[in-house]
Symmetry: C2
């Protein structure tokens, strides 16, 4: 039966587009090497029709499908499970930009388009596509970005991936093609279906193309680095600056001393931003389409805040700003050199971020003396990356092996009490599939299951993820 299926698949996409065994292996593990699965085959589709036919074939044979793009998921969403009974359907060959309409500020792209390429195509038309994922810009694909509702650095001003979509083309679990590729700013003609598929991590259907919103390109920017003792200052400063700078506020990132120390240790050409060392730093960016200097406005907004700011600097010079951004953007890479850690990608209301850090820190230091906490992230969205480890590599292995569950419980309990989410931007995938049941309203889980059952009655769309 397996060979019949593979022959049938090859008849649809061509035999060069069906990989098995060794050739399939690279697509069965995630890029960070945390998840290893096995696939009956890895199938590459070249167009939407092929996706539809492969899905119909799988449906007829009750074979489950793992949709895959750049395979940069941080939670094992884009790799198959271990049994080897699923196929990986890779959309990377579907990388055409179908249309760009600069006057409508939209572009229509296929799922396999690499994010960096989408941004470039927009720029060539003097437009901005604001989704920006520093770490994976050159590898991740728009289909995956939408299926996981990617976040990143542009969210404060432009919203999540979900907010950048006007229309979708989706192959449904029964192989039918939904052409929802509308490029309308307003359409109240029924239920909004696109938001169901966006962020569903491929469990409700396969996004094959999308109409994306474009924006005018910013012409001016200013960046500030601000030293503070306590995230509580950051919370109030954010509200203060937003009320003055409004939509020009385009980034508000938090970086802890522990994050900086790791960067200095592993990233050449990085140095203390100020003569003195401080506990926390903020990177604040203001940018605007209207051509006019922004640094004075940002400077006076910070000066007008009053007590709590220890030291700060503002620049309108892009290169100077980049040397500060280096400190933020290299944290994840630098961490890899320090060995593994217990990572959290949490969100709370912006007004509760300081409370989260204080309470989670206290709980962890009490439970694990000497524990190292690397705190950084998109403070402007209430999204903190909060990574826990032991400074000593030897200790750390045992610590994680023995305590990961307990550490998660401590951290997630604080998140729960503050009305937050245990998955802010990375999604659930395999990583948090079980955990989410403990933290999400059973009624909401029930609604999700009912919708899954309705759209994918045979459970063939990325099973083992999310639900």
């Amino acid at each position: 039966m397996a060979t019949d299926f593979l022959d049938a698949a090859a008849a649809i996409v061509g035999s060069d587009a069906v990989l098995t065994g060794e050739a399939a292996a690279p697509y069965c593990a995630d890029k960070r090497g945390r998840y290893f699965g096995n696939a009956l085959a890895v199938v590459f589709s070249s167009d939407t029709q092929q996706v539809a036919e492969i899905v119909k074939l799988c449906s007829a044979n009750r074979i489950a499908i793992v949709p895959q793009g750049g395979n940069t998921s941080l939670c094992g969403a884009s790799v198959p499970l271990s049994e080897g009974r699923q196929i990986v359907l890779n959309l990377s060959r579907m990388n055409r930009i179908r249309a760009i309409d600069p006057v409508n500020y939209t572009m229509t792209v296929e799922a396999g388009c690499i994010l960096a390429g989408v941004r470039e195509a927009a720029e060539q038309n003097n437009r901005l596509f604001p989704l920006e994922l520093t770490a994976t810009l050159d590898h991740c694909e728009i289909g995956g970005n939408l299926s996981t509702n990617a976040g990143g650095n542009g969210v404060l001003r432009y919203g999540n991936a979900r907010d950048l979509v006007l229309g979708l083309e989706v192959v449904l679990p029964d192989g039918r093609i939904w052409n929802g590729l509308r490029s309308l700013r307003k359409d109240n003609s029924g239920y909004d279906l696109k938001h169901l598929f966006i962020g569903a991590e491929g469990t409700l259907g396969i996004i094959t193309a999308a109409v994306l919103k474009l924006f005018p390109r910013p012409q001016s920017s200013a960046t500030a680095i601000v030293a503070i003792t306590d995230p509580a200052i950051a919370v109030r400063l954010l509200a203060h600056i937003r009320a003055i700078c409004g939509d020009t506020l385009s980034a508000f990132e938090l970086v802890s001393r522990s994050s900086l120390d790791i960067v200095f240790r592993h990233v050449p050409g990085t140095a203390e931003p100020f003569a003195k060392r401080y506990e926390y730093y903020l990177l604040i960016q203001s940018s605007d389409v209207l051509q006019r200097p922004l640094d004075d406005a940002l400077r006076s907004a910070i000066q007008g805040f009053g007590a709590g700011i220890l030291e700060f600097a503002v620049t309108a010079d892009v290169e100077a700003a980049e040397s500060w951004w280096k400190l933020r953007k290299n944290i994840s890479d630098a961490q890899k050199h320090e060995g593994i850690s217990i990572k959290h990608d949490i969100s709370v209301p912006v007004s509760r971020v300081a409370e989260f850090v204080a309470r989670a820190d206290a709980a962890l230091h009490a439970a694990y003396p000497g524990v190292r906490i690397v705190t950084f992230g998109h403070m402007g969205d209430g999204n903190i990356h909060y990574n826990v480890s032991m400074p000593d590599a030897g200790q750390n292995e045992i610590f994680i092996a023995q305590q990961e569950g307990a550490v998660n419980k401590l951290v997630y309990q604080v998140v729960r009490e503050l009305g937050g989410s245990i998955s802010a931007e990375h999604g659930l995938g395999q990583l948090k599939r079980d955990t989410i049941r403990e933290y999400k309203d059973p009624l909401e889980m029930d609604l999700m299951r009912n919708i899954k059952q309705t759209l994918d009655p045979h459970g063939l769309m990325n099973p083992g993820k999310v639900l």
Copy 2:
């Protein structure tokens, strides 16, 4: 059985909160007097628990529910059908503002809060809630605004009602309460359920409360009035100005000569903006939180456009601007004095607006010599209000009686060919429930029905609307 039901309902909400007969009548007709229905009773709920118990009671008795707020629907979405077997569940008494968090830029409101009140409460906290529906600001309620995904004047910059929501509380068709009142900017912990209920016109559940996004209050603004011959100029001018003014561009409205003439005739204190008369006018607003003059930027952006602009004026003076806005904001009211017309609320891609107007105008003038077309609307969103009538009142009655269906067909055919929507911001309700089947992809209708069947298997939520 009816009396038993009414007694049971009274036991839940109090006998003063259950109206029948004459007392119920005002809630069974829409505000414009286009739709007249009958209700078994009109029930007023004071809190979410009461809504849940009423829904359970109705579910047990298989009695259908029409959720109602300010009852300002333009398509009969908020009134019962004629048989008198449905109840109206009016949420107007649920008008508490549960919380305001200026630091998180959010507020939590109950469904019965009047939109104007929500905006005021935000302003008292130096924040803006940007949803603005000129005609009904003082009557419409936020529950209805969200259930219909209201549009209005702020969409170009702030998005539709859907984009202004972080969390929802919904009473499901089985009476369970979904507490999705999260105030998070990022949450990728499962399917996005809130977008299913927003814009569903009460057919999937009853929105009882919401967490709304707030914004910094604009501090400066500039307004331009621009005379043009042809909407094609407007399309290119919009793209041009947006690329220069970016997010400060907060309104871009189109007004036809025919619209102006009606306003002059019926609205005291209105006059030609320029000495000469022109075919089309644009009202363009730029506003910003950053305090700085915007009129120069707007003026030079318009000057830099080149040929096609016949005459224009720019002002930073709010009162001068208001006299121009009066021309736009009074069109709907002025039209009432001219008798009924065949109204359309359509959207097309912004880049196709001129094509829509040209092709629809041509088709109508060819089919109905002497026809009067009143064209105006939210050009910045590709949303045009396009109203067709005969200038002579006597003629008009017959014209509409005989030709409404044919006129709709002509207009909607152009909308279809341009990839538009026959309902941009008003929704489907009763008005377009049948028509939408001819214009929407059957597969999409099928998906909508499946979701309806899953969430509301007994079809008790606002039957006869949308689907």
